[in-house]
Subunit: 139 residues, 2 copies
DNA sequence: CTTGACCTTCCCATAATGGGAAGCTTGACC
DNA sequence: GGTCAAGCTTCCCATTATGGGAAGGTCAAG
């Protein structure tokens, strides 16, 4: 299999396959006489593993670890630790983004969104302090 | 005020202030005779606006727009549209990350996390298909 | 007048992905 | 055998927001 076929079979673009090889996440592929990279079915499994790990949000550094753990048949404890730490990071980011959404929803709720230039959103960003509070003060 | 003072007053690092200027998000600062950047109270307000917009997750391109809308006293409709579009993006990312957490929690729940190398997490990544299903098949 | 803190610009690095150029290989078709 | 398109190779550049660090100029206090 050459790189294009491996890409189609794994769902990882040829460009990314070369990149993963260059950063050492996957081992260097074999080469044909003319210098083309050659892939086996097993290499494709590895590529799929990488793609799915990416879709779970793991960084390339983490995937490198996961692949080592996989290949090395290391204790599942280590895998679980890695996965759990990742989930913690994800939850933290989710919480952060939810706070953003909450704040923005709040600001937007008070914005008329019409032709007038007065905008609680901009005002809220310029000088934070509850927009509701301001609305109250103004009434 | 020189850049260090403006940084302390706004909560934006001097490095970032220069960067924001270089990409045109904030106007070029005035200069002293010796070439030092000089800032006014108003410049600091702008920097704070940028910092807070960042903390709400807006990209620099969006912040550039927000600043134009702010300075230009443009219809609040435009601001609201920008903010709402951003919230949509945030919600999409949140949903994506929650799906990741859900999948990972599911995989981790079935991983003993002990010294044995069998690991439902790795297996789940290697060949997706419900881990629960596999557990059922094996029993 | 020296010294330390601060300023200037410029280059480099990060993480993951992609675009695109220049040049070689392969396979098919005539 | 010759040609052409498609596919491969490497190499460089761009993205986003942030920061590290070097080389050199400036300012204020001693």
């Amino acid at each position: 299999m050459n790189i294009g076929e491996a890409a189609a079979a794994s769902g990882v673009t040829a460009k990314m396959i070369r990149h993963y090889e260059s950063i050492g996440v996957i081992p260097k592929a074999g080469r044909s006489l003319s210098g083309y990279r050659v892939y086996t079915e097993n290499d494709v499994h590895v590529l799929r593993f990488v793609r799915r790990s990416r879709s779970l949000g793991f960084s390339m550094a983490e995937i490198k670890q996961l692949l080592l753990l996989w290949r090395g048949r290391r204790p599942s404890k280590e895998v679980k630790r890695l996965a759990t730490a990742h989930v913690v990071q994800l939850r933290a980011k989710i919480a952060e983004m939810r706070a953003m959404v909450k704040a923005l929803d709040h600001l937007a709720a008070h914005c008329h969104g019409d032709e007038r230039p007065e905008c609680p959103i901009l005002e809220g960003i310029a000088s934070p302090g509850s927009v509701t509070e301001k609305a109250r003060r103004m009434s």
